[in-house]
Amino acid sequence: MFLISVSAAHLLRLYERFQFLDKDNRGHLRPEDFEAVLELSENPIGDRIVEAFFKPGQETVDFPSFVRVLAHFRPTEKNRNRDKGQPDPANSRTRKLKFAFRLYDRDRDGKISRAELLQVLREMLGMQVTEEQLQSIAERAIQEADLDKDGAISFDEFRKVGPLELGSAFILLTVRHLNDEVSSLSYWRSG
């Protein structure tokens, strides 16, 4: 991977944050380091988000990877040149969708199975509902989205769900200030 242009000032703030999280100054982060972010423990899907930073099988995340993940959350540029040679930048709509999809699909088999959806619902709704209600909802959700009737939601079905609504929601999958800091990172190649 290589970067085409980087402005040091932009990255500085993220690097400071990285260092703040990296308490032992190891140069990389581990899952425990994310616990310093207090609000994450209250977040229903907090551990999923943390997990998303780590590549499968890896225990640590270094700064470039940290930034790469966050690059997904930049605003999408509408009139991007679609060069055939270059892969999509991290903040393209497809990539964002893919990122979110991976959060659901923890075992990375390319499909959101009923069990995985149930797990998500359980996390989000917590102890307030009965198991049966959760199952009903999961069942209904799968029914609505599952077009090829295989009992799971594939990435394409995921895209189609709630046609433009979800798509435009993903356009909003941005964190504003990241535009400044990561703007020059649009050429990072994602793994």
Binding site: L21, G46, E131, V175
Partner: protein
């Protein structure tokens, strides 16, 4: 009535319905025109008559002549006011009805235009019939009676999420845009007045600015009326509409400011500064008043569980009080009303009964509909009345300047706003926003409020205002629809909200909040999340009654969808024997919040008898759960109250009916066992739909009072004893969307198949092993019997165990 007979009347005078509709309209207009002069004419009569009587009586009792007892007398005076009001309202309704009888016309011309024309006609008639037209659009009537229902309707059903997401943009347009418009128009008009060529027009700067501030505000009534018919996408709708609502604060401040200063004659910097402070107070004060009354209403609704009938009243009265209180302090009444409605809605909806909710919804729509109609008609009448003073230069200058300033304002502001927006506004969007800046009755009423003595140019102003209003409503209102088509502006998504969207939206919210936290950035999502937590923790518990305060939004949404579907099912299969023969039983424990520790074990197959204590429990459960599901209204469109199942596709219903017939056939074929699913879906809602006519919401069928019953009788289709593990036979009407259409389990080895028509049958092989033979047989026979049963009536012999 008459219109309905017309199609059958071949030889009649009015052969077709549209013709008849027009005839009806003409009759009514004439009637209206004639009654009012009659009223005026009879007044002097009754007066003199009264005087004669009095004088006669004064002369002494001995003198009174014996007159014949008046068998039939006419006294218009005492009923004059209510009678006239009712007549106007009736006219309004019949007009609306008439328009819909002539569909071609309403396709081309927006309703508001037609109503103004009707008003013109009526005004013309009245003027012909007698000397003066009653001043119908007096400002008091307008601001205190006609405007509040429309605004409350808008505020109560305001889509909060898009509104909040675009709040910055909306505020920019409302505040900065209106200010710009006011100063631009006012200033340039003054400049024009200064030009020596213009015919006698010496209007000072301040009156010009006052005029500018009156004419610059986008009118919510007109915007609503026109935009409702063009169905543009949500973003544009909320931008223009939100702007029209929020600019009230600016208008109020500017109006009072310039009115005061125009009298005084000069403005100082201090006054300007005070004006800014005044603006903040007006806006925030209005919102504060609204929020306070909203919370009061929410709190009150917590205690209304015993007097359901007056629940809607709280909503209306508190909102109206909020409006009046704000007006009392010269704060922005519109903002108070919006704030009140928006604040109280989530809590009130959680507390009130379903019927009250429906009542509120329909009353609001009805009142706002009437108000809007009346406003436009009165606008027409008031135009005829005058007073007018036509000044070519002034009027044309006003119209042109309004357009120009709107365009410049929108373009300039968008340029700035787009730097901060994630979803930028395109040129097309900007055009629609600029074009949608309609002026309406509020401007006229504000002009009417001007004091004639202080403002000699009031008539000129009024004429100009009316011209602008007519121009925007007629020209812009009529052409916006074809323009939207021409420019291929994105239309409103007709797709229904699906459960997936809900799930994913919430998921995304959490995700973005998490990312923001990781970055250490306290952004939009962070604060929204904090507000939600605060709301959940403290506010909801305080304002929402009982257990509903803990119900998550997703569940409520889910219930709503299921109920909608169930109602649809029931209504579509209304007459068919099959539908009524398919009651669904309820497994109550699945609806309760998670009180019991263990989830439902499929193993337990005991069929306990129904004890007295259990009965009471069941009754209680029924009562609480029947209040649960709500129908949330997503639409703020007055013309179509979305959500009625009948209005949804007929094709769907036919399809479902077919599937149901299929299902019946399949059931008859199946000679095998049934097991019990571990879950239930829309059974409570189905049952609710059936019980909708109940007096109290408790429906205890006759058999429940009997001593021992067979608890798993499928014909007692209310509640089953809610023991854990009670097998419940649930027959769900087949549909492709219902998660569990038919829970029929086949033990003889036929695998569960997805029927090509969408029947869903699932095997639960683990469960089926544990059932006893006896139970299976009984259940199966029950099912057969239940399907062949013609009606839901509780029969005498039904609770005999049907065992051989």
């Amino acid at each position: 009535m008459l219109p309905r007979i017309a199609p059958f009347n071949r030889t009649g005078f009015a052969r077709t319905v549209p013709e008849l509709g027009l005839l009806l309209l003409a009759i009514l207009v004439l009637l209206e025109g004639s009654v009012l002069p009659l009223g005026a004419a009879s007044t002097p009569e009754t007066n003199t008559h009264g005087e004669a009587n009095r004088s006669g009586a004064v002369e002494g009792h001995s003198n009174h002549t014996k007159k014949a007892f008046p068998v039939l007398s006419f006294n218009y005076e005492s009923v004059k006011l209510p009678f006239e009001i009712s007549l106007w309202v009736l006219l309004a309704f019949l007009m609306k009805l008439g328009f819909h009888l002539v569909p071609r016309l309403s396709g081309i011309v927006p309703e508001s235009c037609l109503l103004i024309v009707v008003g013109l006609l009526v005004g013309g008639l009245i003027r012909l019939a007698r000397e003066e037209v009653p001043p119908v659009l007096n400002s008091k009537l307008f601001f205190y009676c006609l405007l509040p229902p429309i605004i409350l309707d808008a505020g109560y059903f305001l889509p909060i999420r898009p509104f909040m997401e675009n709040l910055g943009t909306i505020l920019m347009f409302a505040v900065v845009g209106t200010l710009w418009n006011a100063f631009f128009v006012g200033g340039l008009l003054f400049a024009i007045c200064l030009i020596p060529q213009t015919p006698v027009l010496n209007i000072g700067l301040l009156p010009c600015l006052l005029f500018g501030s009156i004419i610059s505000a986008v009118d919510p009534v007109a915007v609503l009326a026109v935009f409702e018919e063009i169905h543009i996408n949500e973003l544009l709708h909320i931008l223009v509409f939100g702007e029209s609502l929020l600019n009230d604060a600016v208008t109020v401040v500017l109006y009072h400011l310039f009115e005061e200063f125009a009298l005084v004659g000069s403005v100082t910097v201090l006054d300007g500064f005070l004006g800014i402070i005044s603006f903040l107070i007006v806006a925030l004060g209005g919102v504060l008043f609204g929020a306070i009354f909203g919370f009061l209403a929410a709190f009150t609704s917590r205690f209304t569980s015993h007097i359901r009938v007056i629940e809607p009243l709280f909503v209306f009265v508190y909102s109206y009080m909020a409006y009046l209180a704000a007006e009392m302090f010269h704060l922005s009444g519109i903002m108070a009303l919006i704030a009140c409605g928006a604040v109280m809605r989530p809590y009130v909806e959680a507390n009130i009964s379903h019927k009250s909710h429906t009542t509120i919804k329909y009353f609001l729509k009805m009142w706002s509909s009437v108000s809007e109609t009346l406003i436009f008609i009165f606008l027409g009448v008031a135009t005829v009345e005058g007073p007018h003073e036509w000044n070519w230069v002034f009027v044309t200058a006003t119209v042109i300047l309004c357009l120009v300033s709107r365009v410049i304002g929108v373009v300039g502001l968008t340029f700035v706003i787009n730097k901060f927006r994630i979803v930028k506004l395109t040129t097309k969007d900007q055009f629609i926003i600029a074009y949608g800046g309609l002026r309406g009755a509020i401007a006229f009423s504000l002009g009417f409020l001007l004091d004639e003595h202080h403002f000699k140019m009031r008539n000129i102003f009024l004429t100009a205002i009316i011209t602008v209003v007519f121009f925007t409503v007629f020209v812009q209102g009529m052409t916006i629809k074809p323009l939207v088509e021409l420019l291929a502006v994105k239309k409103k998504q007709e797709a229904k909200r699906s459960i997936n969207e809900e799930i994913h939206t919430q998921f995304l919210d959490h995700l973005l909040t998490g990312i923001e936290d990781i970055c250490g950035h306290y952004g939009h999502h962070h604060w929204k999340d904090k507000l939600n937590r605060f709301n959940k923790k403290y506010v909801k518990g305080f304002l929402i009654v009982g257990e509903r305060s803990k119900e998550p939004q997703l569940i409520a949404f889910y219930h709503k969808m299921e109920m909608k579907q169930a109602i649809q099912m029931v209504e579509s299969g209304g007459g068919s024997k099959l539908a009524s023969a398919m009651p669904s039983t309820v497994s109550m424990q699945n609806i309760q919040p998670k009180n019991q520790a263990a989830p439902l074990k499929p193993k337990e197959r005991a069929l306990p008898q129904l004890s007295k204590g259990r009965e009471e429990e069941i009754r209680k459960i029924l009562r609480t759960n029947l209040q649960r599901t709500r129908q949330r209204l997503h639409s703020y469109n007055r013309h179509t109250l979305v959500g009625d199942p009948e209005e949804e596709g007929i094709k769907d219903l036919i399809l479902k009916k077919q599937m149901r017939i299929e299902l019946d056939r399949k059931i008859k074929e199946m000679a095998n066992h049934l097991t019990v699913p571990a879950r239930t879906q829309d059974s409570p809602t189905m049952r609710r739909a059936r019980l909708a006519s109940g007096r109290n919401t408790d429906f205890i069928p006759a058999q429940q009072q009997k001593g021992n019953k067979n608890s798993s009788d499928p014909q007692s289709f209310t509640v089953k004893p809610s023991a854990d593990g009670v097998p419940v036979i649930q027959v769900d009407l087949a549909s492709p969307q219902s998660p569990d259409s038919v829970n029929l389990f086949d033990e003889t080895g036929q695998p569960a198949q997805n029927d090509d028509q969408g029947l869903m049958m699932k095997t639960k092989s683990s469960e089926s092993d544990k059932r006893s033979e006896k139970d299976d047989l009984r259940d199966q026979q029950k099912l057969m019997r239940c399907l062949s049963d013609p009606g839901p009536a509780a029969e005498e012999d039904e609770d005999e165990p049907f065992l051989p």
